[in-house]
Amino acid sequence: MAAGRPGVEALLAVARAEFAQRLPAKMAEVEKLLSDAAWDEARRAAHKLRGSAATYGFPALSTAAAAIEDELLAAGGPPQAAVVARVMDLVRGARADAERAAAEGR
């Protein structure tokens, strides 16, 4: 990816590992925002994670974050209980992924 730029590759590897370490906290934040019924903030947090996780090379997390964002967007306001339950399931799954990624120090 960064062929011929060893310094940058090393920096990217460090940045990626640090990002992985921050992932569980990011998912916890999404979870808390949902618990507080702060739907728009939760959507924004999921949106950020969607882009950054994809960029840092965590596609499964990005997909999960995208699903959370899409569910909240589709609700078009305060989501119904069933939607919240679905989103919370997604958050928990994504959080487990994030914790695994952080533990592996990837």
């Binding site: 960064a2 990217l12 882009g51 960029t55 840092y56 090379g57 990005s62 964002e69």
Partner: protein, 428 residues
Amino acid sequence: MSDPENTAPGSAEAGSVPPEVPVFPLGEVLGGTYEIKSILGAGGMGEVYDALDRVLNRRVAIKVVRASIAPDYLLREGRALAAIHHPGVVTVHAMGEHKGTGFLVLERVRGLSLDRLLQDRKARGERFAVDEALELLVAVADALSVVHRAGLAHRDVKPGNVMMAPGGRVVLMDFGLVLPHADRPGHRSVAGSLQYMAPEALTGDVAEGAATLLDVYALGVLGYELLAGVLPFEGAQPLDLYRAKTRQPGPRLASHRTDLPASLSDVIGQMMAPEPQERPQGAEAALWQLRSVRTRAAAGGSVRPFSVLIVDDDADMREALSLYVRAAAPDAEIETTGDGTQAVRAVRRRVPDLLLLDLDLPDINGVEVCMLLRGMQLGDGCLIVSVSGRATRADVELLQQLGVRSVEKGPGLMNELVDLVHGIRPTR
């Protein structure tokens, strides 16, 4: 054609021969109003006359096409021109019919065709100065961007269809081949002027919605010719030209002269890319790139450090983007901010060479930032790239209209940005 004023109708379909008998004799009065005074030019497809509008007492240009030309040719041109109001595009006054022959009444543009100017320079062994060529290219790109915004593609951009009028006005003429750019030009319909035609036009294989990229290609050829003093490709037959135009590497403008900013060679090279998707995606995008080159050239090009402004409300993305820029330009000056208002202020303070802009921002969003910057003409010298996780198609199309490139967040982002920075960064 020797007369320098309103040109004759298109070079269009290859193989056509100018007729010997004019469609309208001198002195003929069309529709009781337009008195034919002289022939301004005759081409394979028809003629352009100098005429007097007896009612409004002004000179106009009258355009007619041969009976063999598609009957909707003039109507298409007239309607296209009627949809556009811009000093860089010839104005249509009216359409009419006289003794069964349709005609178009156009603004009489007095001046010199760019083709004539080019030939004169070539004959004297001179070329256009870089700033002179840039001004011309910016003016033509500006006119074309208006055409594209009207949902049209010109499809016959070439020096013969660009007029240099008094007061520095540059006017795009001859809209006979114009098409809605959402249309797919007919399969195997080879129309235009061979040297300026994109490879996909030579094979009649233009993708749906991609006709504006034919104009971008032609603009690139025109730029090459202005700066090099020669056409980029040799050959008289479509097949020879197709081979030449798709050969890689393409012609190197820099091999013709040493005083060219690398960024200008790059933009022209991009415009002439054999693959349409590798060209600036429309005249507006080409225009902003050309303006950026002009601004940098005026500032002395290599004096200023390469500067980048990164706008994203996610600190992780700001860090990733900074690293990617460093990968391509280790000495770049990078400024970051998390909201749109600050971004506009930062550009107002200092216009960066490159602005990487998230679309989903907490205050004013990225599209609004672009509109503000373009509206205030603050970002003229700056390439704006939207970096988004979920841009809609409408967003991307609007951004394209504003001359903004779009890239997606994801694993391919780094390579895309590195290539992009290498493409626009002025030579040190």
